[in-house]
C-alpha cells in the first residue's frame, strides 16, 4: 500500500513539474518585452524551487532539464532550435542548470527531513495515546482488543495475538493459521533464545519473569513497523501483567467468598434444619410409643410441638430457596399496584402464631398511595423483619409498625423493644448467615438469612433498609421504598 502511494505521488510530481514549467513559459513569454531574457531565467528558478519543495528529487531534476530545454528552445537565439548563438547565453544556461540542481536537491532534502520529523511526531503521538489506552484498560480482554486495534492501524500485515494465560488466539484475519503448538511450547519454554532466532516474526509480551503473550506476524516487517510493534508489545505487557494480576485477585476473592458461603450454608442446613427435625422426630416417636400413658394435655403439647416445628422448618426452607434465587439473580420482579395495608395485613396474618402474645401496634397513614411493587416479595421482606422483631421481643412486649409517605419515598418503620443492636453490628446483620448472639437465654436463634433476604428484596425495588436505635430501647428497622419506581420489571 505504501509503495503504491509513493508511485502515484511521484507521477503527480512529474505532472506538476511539467505543468509548472509550461505555466512559467507562458508568463515568461508575456514578460519578454519588459525584461532582459537572462533575468527571465529567475522565473524558471522559482518554479524549480517550488517543485523541489513540493515533490521529490526526481521531478525537481526533471523540471530543471525541462526548464533548460524550453528556455533554450523559445527564448535564446536562434529561436525555436536547441542551438545557442551567444556564448553568454550558453554560460548562463550552464549556471542555471547547476544552481537549479543544487537548489532542488537541498529543497527536497529539507522536505524529507520535515516529513520525517512529522512522522516521528505522529509515531510519538500514537505511542503516547496507546500507552494511555493501556494504562486505562481494566481487563486483560480490553488490553488485547486495544492492542489489536493499534497493530491494525500501524501495520497492514496479518497477525495473531496469542495469550498464554488463557490459551487464547486472536488473529486478523481470523482465518490466519497460528503457529503450531510445538513451536509455541518451545517459545514458552525457551523464553528468549528461541525468540531471537526468528526475530521479526514474534514479538513477546514479557512480565518480569515470563512471557505473557506473543504477537506473531506472518510477513517480514519494515524496520519502523518492527520498532512500533516492539514498543506496543512492551507497553501492552505492562498493562497485561497488571490486569491479569487484578483478575487473579478477584477470582481468589470470589472463590474464598463462595467457600465461606458454602460452609455457612452447610452449617445452617445441618443446624437449622436438624433442630426442628429433632423436636418433630422426638415428639412424634414419644406419642407413638407412650400414647396410652400420656395425659391428654401432654399429648396435645407434643402435637403442638410437631406442628410448630414443622412450620419453622418450612419457613427456613423458604428462606434458603429465596436466598438461592436471589443469589443467582434469578428473580424477576412482577410489579403490580398494591395497597401497603394489604401487604402488611398479609405479613401479620402469616406471622399470627409468632406474634401471638406480643402486642402489635399498626400506624399506617390514611393517604398512602397504592405502590408499584412485587407484592409477595415486599410481604416476605416484612415477614422476615417482623419475625426478627418477634424473636427479640419478650412475651407481652410490643412491636410497632408505622408507614408514612414523605415527599420522595414511602417509609416503613418496624420498632421493637428488644436488646438492640450494637453499632458495630448494624451493617453486619444484613450479611448472609450473620446472626447476633444473645447468649444462652435465647432459645430460638435466627438463621441469619431473613434480614439478608429482606434487604435483597427491598433493594431489588430500588429501596433500602437500615437499622436505627429505638429511643425507647431496642431497634427500629427503617425501610424506604421509592414512590416512583426506579426499576420496572418485565411485563
Amino acid at each position: 500500500m505504501f509503495n503504491i502511494t509513493k508511485t502515484t505521488s511521484l507521477l503527480t510530481g512529474y505532472w506538476l513539474a511539467t505543468l509548472t514549467v509550461i505555466g512559467i513559459s507562458l508568463i515568461t513569454e508575456l514578460l519578454t518585452p519588459w525584461l532582459p531574457h537572462t533575468s527571465l531565467l529567475l522565473l524558471f528558478m522559482a518554479g524549480i524551487v517550488f517543485i523541489s519543495a513540493k515533490t521529490a528529487l526526481g521531478p525537481a531534476i526533471f523540471a530543471s532539464a525541462l526548464s533548460f530545454t524550453v528556455f533554450n528552445f523559445f527564448f535564446t537565439e536562434p529561436f525555436f532550435t536547441l542551438d545557442i548563438t551567444h556564448r553568454h547565453d550558453f554560460a548562463t544556461l550552464l549556471l542555471f542548470i547547476s544552481v537549479s540542481l543544487i537548489t532542488g536537491n537541498l529543497a527536497s532534502k529539507m522536505r524529507l527531513a520535515i516529513a520525517d520529523s512529522k512522522q516521528a511526531l505522529d509515531r510519538q503521538h500514537r505511542f503516547f495515546s496507546f500507552s494511555q489506552k493501556m494504562t486505562s484498560a481494566a481487563t486483560s480482554q480490553e488490553v488485547m482488543s486495544r492492542l489489536k486495534h493499534a497493530i491494525v492501524q500501524t501495520t497492514s500485515t496479518p497477525f495473531c495475538f496469542i495469550n498464554r494465560h488463557q490459551q487464547q488466539f486472536i488473529c486478523t484475519p481470523s482465518t490466519l493459521s497460528v503457529p503450531d503448538d510445538a513451536i509455541l511450547e518451545s517459545i514458552w519454554r525457551h523464553e528468549n533464545t528461541y525468540l531471537q532466532q526468528i526475530k521479526g516474526q514474534f514479538f513477546s509480551l514479557r512480565s518480569a519473569d515470563k512471557t505473557l503473550a506473543l504477537i506473531y506476524v506472518t510477513k517480514q516487517l519494515s524496520e519502523s513497523q518492527s520498532a512500533a510493534l516492539h514498543t506496543f508489545s512492551n507497553l501492552a505487557a505492562l498493562a497485561l501483567e497488571r490486569t491479569l494480576l487484578a483478575e487473579d485477585l478477584e477470582k481468589t476473592r470470589l472463590i474464598s467468598e463462595t467457600e465461606q458461603l458454602r460452609s455457612a450454608l452447610l452449617s445452617s442446613v445441618s443446624h437449622d434444619l436438624r433442630t426442628p427435625l429433632s423436636s418433630i422426630i422426638g415428639s412424634a416417636s414419644s406419642l407413638l410409643e407412650y400414647q396410652e400413658k400420656l395425659s391428654q394435655q401432654d399429648q396435645r403439647q407434643l402435637l403442638t410441638t410437631i406442628l410448630d416445628e414443622s412450620q419453622r422448618l418450612d419457613r427456613h426452607i423458604q428462606n434458603l430457596l429465596d436466598m438461592t434465587r436471589f443469589g443467582q439473580g434469578k428473580v424477576t420482579l412482577k410489579r403490580d399496584w398494591v395497597d401497603i395495608k394489604d401487604i402488611t395485613a398479609g405479613a401479620l396474618y402469616r406471622l399470627r402464631d409468632e406474634l401471638d402474645k406480643r402486642h402489635i401496634e399498626i400506624d399506617i397513614q390514611d393517604n398512602m398511595p397504592i405502590i408499584w411493587v412485587h407484592g409477595l416479595l415486599i410481604e416476605q421482606a416484612l415477614v422476615n423483619i417482623l419475625d426478627n422483631a418477634a424473636r427479640v421481643t419478650p412475651i407481652g412486649g410490643q412491636i410497632h409498625l408505622a408507614a408514612r409517605l414523605t415527599t420522595s419515598c414511602i417509609e416503613i418503620d418496624i420498632s421493637d423493644n428488644g436488646p438492640g443492636i450494637a453499632d458495630q453490628e448494624k451493617e453486619k446483620i444484613f450479611d448472609m448467615f450473620y446472626s447476633v448472639a444473645h447468649g444462652d437465654s435465647q432459645t430460638k436463634t435466627g438463621t441469619g438469612l431473613g434480614l439478608a433476604i429482606s434487604k435483597g428484596m427491598i433493594a431489588a425495588h430500588g429501596g433500602n433498609i437500615n437499622v436505627l436505635d429505638n429511643p425507647s430501647g431496642g431497634t427500629i428497622m427503617h425501610v424506604t421504598l421509592p414512590k416512583h419506581p426506579v426499576v420496572y420489571g418485565p411485563e
Binding site: 406442628l307 403490580d336 399496584w337 398494591v338 395497597d339 402488611t344 395485613a345 397504592i370
Partner: protein, 229 residues
Amino acid sequence: MNIAAKTILIIEDEAQIRQFLRISLEAQSHTVVIATNASEGLELASKQPVDLIILDLGLPDRDGQQVIKELRKRSQIPIIVLSVRASEDEKVRALDAGANDYVTKPFGISELMARVRALIRINDNQPSTQARIQFDNLTIDTQSHEVWLDNEAIHLSRKEFELLYQLTVTPGRILTHQQLLKIIWGEHFVSETHYLRILVGHLRQKLNDDPMQPRFIITVQGIGYRFKY
C-alpha cells in the same frame, strides 16, 4: 358448622397426603374417593357423582392445569387445587382455568377444611338465584342494586356494586385480578390492575372495611380477592 356429608374426590400421588386428607375428611363424615393420578381421577369423576374435587397440580402422568381444563369441559364441580409454594403464576393460571380455590403446600388441615366448607356452601346455596344476599350486617339486593350496611342504605357506583356483587355471589371463592377486570371493565383492561386496586379501596371505604382487619373483602396477594365467609 353443620354441613351435609358430601362425596369428595382426591387426586393426589403422594400417599401420605392422601392419607391425612382421607382421615380428616372422613372425620367430617364426608365420603372420600381416591385417585393416584390424572387419568384415574378423570375417569372416576366421569363415572360417579362427585361434589368436590381436591386436585394436586404436580401429578406424574399429566399437568394439573390440563386436568382442570378437562374437568371444566364436562362439569362445574368445585375444584380445590393443591400446589407447592414458589409460583403465584401457577395458582393464577389454575384459577383462570376454572379452579375455584387453592391451598399451598405445606398446609394445615384447618386451612383446607375452611376452603372445603366454603365451596360446599356455595354449591348448596346457589346464591345467583337469590334476590337478596345477606352477610352479617350487610344486605345486598341483586335486583334493585341497593346495599345496606347496619340497615343504613349506602350508595355504590355501578362498578362498585358490580365488584361487590361478583365477590358475594360466590363468597369465599377467589376471583383473580384478571377475572374481575374482565367482568367489570372488559376484555381490554385485564392488565390495568390499578383500576381494580382503586375500586377495591373505594368499596372498602364505603363498607367501612379495614384492610388490616377485613370484615368483608380479603386480599389474596398477587392473585386476587375473596369475600369473607
